[in-house]
Every structure is written in C-alpha cells, then in structure tokens.
C-alpha cells in the first residue's frame, strides 16, 4: 500500500555514553495522524532516542528529518519551535512555581506586554479540565502528588499546537480514569493529523491507542510493526527476546488467607490522621500479609503510607507495633521498627543521583547501622551484585552513577535499597512505576515470596489489577478518607471502582 510522507524520519541513529552504547544504528519514523508506540525493556534506549530527537543529547551518527528537511536541534527550545512538543520521562517541571505557571511558562498569556495572571489561571483550569483534573491552579506544584505533576506536564505539552507530540511514559503513575481521559484526548489529536510518539510499559494501553509500534532491545532496533499485525504476546517476546511466563501460580498463593488469620498483627493504626493529608483512619497489617491501597489520584494513599513510616508526623491517633504503642515522628523511628518505605517520587525523594548504584543500594542499611559501623566494601559489593542480578538492573556495573540509569532501572535500585534492610513491614508506593513487564512480574513474584516468608507489605499502585493480584486485603481511599477494607477473596477491579464511585455520588 502507499504510505503518506513521513513527518519524522530518524535513520542510523547512534548514541554512546561513556561505557554504554545507548543507541546503535536505530531507524525510526512517524506519520502524520498516527499514534506510534516506542517499546522496549528498561534501558532499551527509548528515552535516549527521544532526547536525541529533541536535541537534549547530540547524536554520534545518523540523520534526523522533520517534515522532509534534515534537522539537528541544539536543544529543546529549538525542537519546540520546530513543532516537536515533548513530555520527558521524569517529571520536569519547576516545583517552586504554581501549577498554572508550569503549564504556561515561556508562553504566558500577556496583556499590555505584561503577564496576564488571571487569564493564565483561567486557561490552565480549562486545559486541566480537558484532562478531567480540577484543582487550585495557583497552588505550588511542589505540593502536588507525582500523578498530578505528570498530568500538568502533559497539559503543558498539549497546549502548544505541535506537529509531533512526544510522550515518554506519560501514564506511569496515572490510574485507569486518567489514562482513559488521556487516550481520549490523544485520539482527537490524532484526528487533527498530529503525529504522536507514545511510550508505555502497559501493553493494553499501547494496543488500545497505537497504530504502529517500534521495538528496541539493548539500544538496537528490533523492528516496526502495525498494531493490527502483531499480538501482545508476540510484542513482549520481541521486547525481551524470549517467552514470558505468566503469573497464574502467583494468583493462587496470593489469595489464600487461611494461615493469615492466625498470624500476629505487626502494625496497627488507630485514628491516625494528618491535617490536609488524611482523615483519621484505622488499619492493621499482619505479618506475612499484603495490604493493597486502592484509590484515585490524590486520594491520600501516599500520605497514609508516609504516616505509617514517620515521614510526616500525625496530628492524632496512635500507632502500635508488635502490640506496643510507639511514637512515629521520624523516618528513623520507622526504620528502628524495621519498617521500610520506598517513596513514589524516586527522583526527588528516593535516589541520590550523584552516588553510584552500590552506594544508593546500601544507603538505608548503612544509615541504620550508623556511621561508625561501616559495611565492608566486600559486603557492599556482594549486596549490590546480588540485587543487580535479582532485579536485572542495567548496566550491571554497580559503580554506575544512578543519575545515568534509565528510569526503570533507577526504580529497581530504589527497591533494592529497601529489600536489603530486610524489613518486617515493606511499604511500596508505586514500586512498579515505569518498570517493564519483565521486571514487573519479577517484582510481583518477589513481593509474594517475601510475604510468604512472613514480611508484611503495604502495596500502593495506580494499576488496580496489580493491587488486586498481590494483596490479601484491599483498603480503599477516597478524598483522603479510608472508605472500605475488603478481604481479597475474589475482588474485581469493577467492585473497587464502584465502591470509589458510589461514595462520590453519595
């Protein structure tokens, strides 16, 4: 069949970083009016390809054509002017500015040559409205949950009338509702002939929206496919280079609570609350139990988790660990009770980018031991090596600077940090954010195993299926309130959604 002229054509792209070949002779093309998914495992080179397109990184070899003419952007501003609008993987906004400003800065509506603040706020509310998001747009961005920030970044990209829209894992921390909303918007943009580059580790999302997909593996091009010509299983096989075994076995083990009823309660919260974050709630977690938190964006899951760990301190209520009431004022207190908390925002709250993978992995354990009892270098290397292997962190050298890791691999490092502390309660806030399905199943299996060995787990994920698959019990939040706690015999996503929904109707 005859294809229209490609709007974007990248040929023979090569990008080396000291020690790593991130991209090796990669071809990539996009057509107007299509959604093109860029697929690949963590570290495959997706974000790098995008950054070479927008001029964040220069290329070592290859050519880039936009609208038929060769281009090489010196930086994002140029790319933007040429009509390439991008949402990068890590949220890249200014926490010190308001939501509205983050959407419009650089393109602020002006009147009499001066910034027209009121007009800006109005337009921001409209834009976010289109994404079904209603919030005080003059509030500081820093105080928003990571999901909100992601939506803001998307809104910013949508506002510019671009020829090519690039979205690097825009949905990694959105829940079903927002995703649906986003896809709707993308479809209408596609109608208007925009070319959309879409990166996601959610296969179903990709098949729902993409017309065409390009698969990368270890920085090399595997191939380009029409969605209609390929099945999910085939796609995954091409991404990871081997068959993926599914998790039905896990399903079983997860849900039998027979022994749990007997298990002693590890942690119990009574009327715990924090103003502006979560209303008083009670919650108990038994040893070996996986409790999932379900709720919409901004429902207060993260807040709740932070209280249990002592990341924020509560205004009211008590926390009981092993039957003894304990003050939980600092993270340190949480750790002293063998509680671990892996935060949702790896960039600002999780990792120390300047330090190596090894150093980041041992950080929490070392902090717990205190400075005077250092882990021997040998011990550190072993720990690092073990978890680099276990979680398949790439590149495999534990001496790589974390900031040079791909998003998903960074997430794995964060996870490793807490796993080596061998906690009794492991709080995971969006642990699988931006992680490819291979690793995701790995992590889910790990969680199941750990709980099997008696570790209590509090599991937060925007992906409801994941929560359901893993948890013995699901605690549902709505508007910063705990509205239901359900044993997960055979819960379905719809049941949960209806619980969330009915509240908002009531």
């Amino acid at each position: 069949m005859t294809e229209p002229e490609a709007i974007l054509r990248m040929t023979g792209i090569r990008k080396e970083f000291p020690g790593v070949v991130a991209l090796d002779d990669v071809d990539f093309r996009m057509f107007p009016g299509e959604v093109h998914a860029l697929m690949g495992e963590n570290g495959a080179g997706k974000s790098t390809l995008i950054k070479t397109l927008t001029g964040v990184h220069g290329i070592d070899a290859g050519t880039i054509e936009l609208g038929g003419s060769a281009v090489s952007f010196a930086g994002p501003p140029e790319a933007q002017r040429a009509g390439v609008s991008t949402v990068y993987q890590e949220v890249n906004l200014c926490p010190n500015l308001s939501v509205a400003e983050n959407i419009f800065i650089g393109r602020e509506p002006r009147r009499f040559g001066r910034i027209h603040w009121a007009g800006m706020r109005r337009r921001a509310e409209v834009l976010l409205g289109a994404l079904d998001l209603r919030l005080d747009v003059s509030a500081g961005l820093g105080s928003q949950s990571i999901a909100v920030q992601q939506m803001v970044a998307i809104a910013r990209a949508l506002d510019v009338s671009a020829r090519v829209l690039v979205l690097d894992e825009p949905t990694s921390s959105l829940d079903a509702g927002e995703v649906e909303q986003l896809l709707k918007v993308l479809r209408s943009l596609r109608e208007d002939g925009m070319a959309i580059l879409f990166v996601s580790h959610f296969i179903d999302q990709v098949f729902a929206i993409a017309d065409r997909m390009t698969v990368l593996r270890n920085g090399k091009l595997v191939g380009e496919y029409r969605t209609s010509d390929i099945t999910p299983v085939e796609l995954v096989t091409r991404m990871i280079g081997k068959e993926l075994e599914v998790l039905d076995d896990l399903e079983e083990s997860a849900h039998d609570r027979s022994d749990l009823a007997a298990a002693p309660v590890f942690l119990q919260a009574d009327g715990l609350s924090r103003k502006g974050a979560v209303a008083p709630f009670s919650l108990e977690i038994r040893q070996g139990e996986v409790v999932g938190l379900a709720g919409l964006l901004g429902s207060g899951r993260t807040e709740l988790a932070r209280l249990l760990f002592g990341a924020d301190h509560s205004d009211s209520g008590t926390l009981t660990v092993d039957g003894a009431v304990v003050p939980m004022r600092t993270p340190r207190a949480g750790m002293d009770h063998r509680i671990a908390f892996s935060p949702e925002d790896r960039k600002t709250e999780g990792l120390v980018g300047e330090l190596t993978v090894r150093e980041n992995i041992v950080l929490a354990l070392q902090a717990a031991r205190g400075w005077s009892r250092p882990l021997s270098r040998k011990r550190q290397d072993e720990l690092a090596a073990r978890y680099v292997a276990a979680l398949d962190i790439r590149p495999t050298s534990p001496e790589t600077l974390v900031r040079n890791l791909s998003g998903g691999n960074q997430q794995k490092v964060l996870l490793a940090r807490w796993l080596i502390t061998e906690p009794r309660l492991l709080i995971l806030d969006e642990p699988t954010r931006g992680i490819d399905i291979g690793a995701k199943t790995e992590i889910q299996r790990l969680v199941a195993k750990l709980s099997g060995d008696g570790m209590a787990v509090l599991f937060i994920s925007a992906e409801l299926e994941e929560v359901l698959r893993l948890s013995h019990r699901v605690t549902v939040l709505r508007d910063r309130k705990v509205v239901a706690q359900l044993d997960n015999e055979s819960l379905t996503a719809d049941e949960i959604m209806s619980i969330i929904a009915e509240g908002s109707s009531a």
């Binding site: 709250e349 950080l363 902090a367 400075w371 005077s372």
Partner: protein, 345 residues
Amino acid sequence: MTGHRLFWPIAALVALLLVDLAVKPSFFSVELRDGHLYGSLVDILRLGAPLILVGIGMTLVVATRGIDLSVGSVVAISGALACLHLSGLGDQNSVGGTLVAVAMALGLCLALGAWNGFLVAVLGIQPIIATLILMVAGRGIAQLITDGQIITITSGPFRAIGSGYLLTLPLSILIALVVFVLTSVLVRRSALGLLIEAVGGNPEASRLSGLRSGRLIWLVYVFGGLCAGVAGLMISANTSGADANHAGLWIELDAILALTIGGTQLTGGRFSLGGTVIGALLIQTLTTTVYTLGIPDTATLLVKAMVVLLVCLVQSPAFRAKVRRRRKSPPPAPADRPVKVEVSA
C-alpha cells in the same frame, strides 16, 4: 589518565611551578640551613599548611551543601586565646603551659563550631548567613581577647607549631599532613563519607533513608571549627604573636577556592580531600610566586584572577569539550591552503 579527578588540579600546580622554575631557576633550590630545609618550596609547604587545614574542614562542610564563612574569625580567636594564656605564664617555654594554652584554644573552637552547627542543623538558618554571624562577631571576640593589641609571645614550644622543624621538615606541614591522613581514613574507612555525600546530594532522600542528617551537619561544622582552630595556632605561632585584626582575614575565600580547584562542587555531594590539599598548595604557590617574581602589588590581584580563571577553565569539561570542537570544526583543508589550517588550528 586525564580521567582521574585530580589530574587537572595537579597539572595546574605543576605548570605553575614550572613557570617559577623558568623565571627564577633558584626557585627550586632547597638547601640545609641550621638543621632544617630552606627554600621557596619549603616556604610554600609551611605557609600552605593553615590553608590546607581550613580547606579540609571546609570541604566536609561544603559536601553537606553548607558553607562556613566564620573560619577566618575562628582562626583569629584560637590564636588570640592561646597567646593570651601564654603571655600570662611565668615561664612561657614550659611545655605543660603551652599544651594548656593549645587545649583551651581548640576547646573554644570546638564550641564555636558547635554554635555554627546549632544554627544550621537545629535552627535551620541558611549556612551562609548563620556563619556570617560568627564571622562578624568572632573578629570582635578575638579583639576583645587581645584587647585590640598584638599579643607577642616568646614560648619556644608554641612557636614550633608555626615555624618549627621536625626531621628537617616544617612542623606545620607535618601537622597538616597528619590531619589530612586521619580525616581521609576516618571519612573513607568509616561510613561518614558516604553519609555526608548522601546528605549533600539529596537531603530529602537521605532523610527518608533514615539518615540523622542533623547530627552529621553538626559534626562537620564542629570539625570545621577544630581545623580552623589548629590553623589559627599555626598562624599566630608563625609570627609569635596573635594579631586578632588580621589573622585569617579572607581565608574562607581561599579555602573555598582551594576546594573548588580540588574538584568539590559547592552544591554539595561528592568531595575530594586530596583535591583540596592540591588546591591549597596551588593558591599558596601563586602567592609565593607573586612575591618571588616581584610582581607589582597593584597587579597582584589581576594576576591572581587570571591564574585562577585559567585553572578553572582547564578543569571545566565544558570548556575542554568546546576547545576540542574548535580544533575539529574546520573542514579538512585542501592541500593547497595549508596556511589557513595553521591559523584556524
């Protein structure tokens, strides 16, 4: 080779020394005079010692995203208190008395460091302003101690700290060396280094990883105070007198300069004590060079500016990259116009 963190600082230092050698061949001559080594290089080591010490302390402070402007005043206070005590002694040459004086001075400096740490770690005041307080008040305290006069002392043991020699080497540099080695070992063999770099690299992440950053920050300021204290003793001992008004004036700037040349970022995180030592020596070499080559003192600052600029430029990867691109950029020139290549290269 050029990859190593310390390559460029060392290269700069060597380059500067070579300039000296070229201009004044006698610059490298080191002879033995009444039982100790004597020569410009020896002076550089001896006079560089205080800066090295202050630099080491400052490096750790900076690694935690802090800064300590008060070191200069602490230097003055330390010297003043020690000399005040000594001047009161019947027999200034008594080792015991000297030790007491030293102990008193260093004790006070620890307290001053703790004060800085308190302001930063507990009250959460921004380091630059928190230490500015002691920078201003500290001078006053030092002058209060000396009553604005220069306290001259004759104590042999004390003077040794600044101008004495051991095994023909200046005692001061040996002290600095010991402090450097001890600190390096402590920091790298224990987990301090890692924890400090973590706190400086990402405070919130460190907090959520259970680091007691407050204590760490406190610790580094106390240590910074101690280092400044020792430096203060050296400086006053070197001139066998406490000059509360001038001792350690602007040393904080030189210290920060030294650690930057050494490759530590003022934004916190990774630090390199070795680099700081190199940086300090570089700065001292520069000063000595100016005096030795008889550069008119109206031009001194210009020279200093230029040298520092050069050193920082060659160290900056961005700069080197740009230069390399320059070299590359002109297209392979046709054989018939070789001259042009010369020009462009």
